[in-house]
């Protein structure tokens, strides 16, 4: 992959005032939408260079290689850009089948049902097991 040789493709993204773009991540096999996260130029370049999803953590203000603690890395299958160039869509292979820190496949596990948000998806991996105890 020579994507990192030039930066024109990075310049074509309409980064917001904070230098970020929202990133939708979808399981390439099941097509389940897993997460909505954020990237800056550096994290997208790192994603392409490594072949694994690397986001920008807004809460910790640092690069965040998804799964670096849990082992649930996301291998990149494809990266798409939307029509106004301000949002990205990743297709990934989700290691461990779990993207959410709650141990579920997807972060979008609560569905609106008669005026309340109802969890409708099982916990696959115990979060304590996922992150261990130090």
């Amino acid at each position: 992959m020579n994507d990192q040789d030039t930066t024109a493709w990075l310049d074509q993204i309409a980064w917001n005032a904070q230098g970020l773009a929202p990133v939708i991540t979808q399981a390439a096999d099941t097509k389940r939408v897993l997460t909505l996260a954020w990237m800056n130029r550096e994290s997208l370049a790192a994603t392409v260079a490594s072949g694994y999803a690397t986001y920008w953590s807004r809460s910790r203000s640092k690069l965040w290689r998804k799964g670096e603690t849990s082992g649930n890395l996301q291998r990149i299958v494809s990266i798409a850009l939307d029509c106004d160039a301000d949002a990205l869509l990743l297709q990934v292979e989700q290691m461990g089948g779990v993207a959410c820190h709650t141990g579920r496949e997807s972060c979008f596990y609560r569905v609106l049902d008669k005026g309340t948000w109802q969890a409708d998806e099982p916990v696959i991996t115990d979060p304590e097991q996922m992150y261990g105890k130090s």
Copy 2:
């Protein structure tokens, strides 16, 4: 649907400093991710009340019922909230099979290929036909 009777479910969303949340919209049948747009409280309440996706247009600063001009409305199948309550995922029935103003099914029609963004999806409906001429 009695979702609009109380506002507790709206209060549970972690709206950003501008009162907005990013919204991923996915075709319920094909699972194709169609758009990344934004909602505020009013637009989400209008979406639930009407059963059709209504976003907040950041460029026009107004409610925007998707498809109001083109006829390509999005009928709501389900609405999900993510683990940190700051992003939404809609499953919709996309009228006309076209979500993008370019006449394509999805706005995410450009894929990164060897360092360039390549359009990899056909135009289904001519945009001039979609929006007409006044």
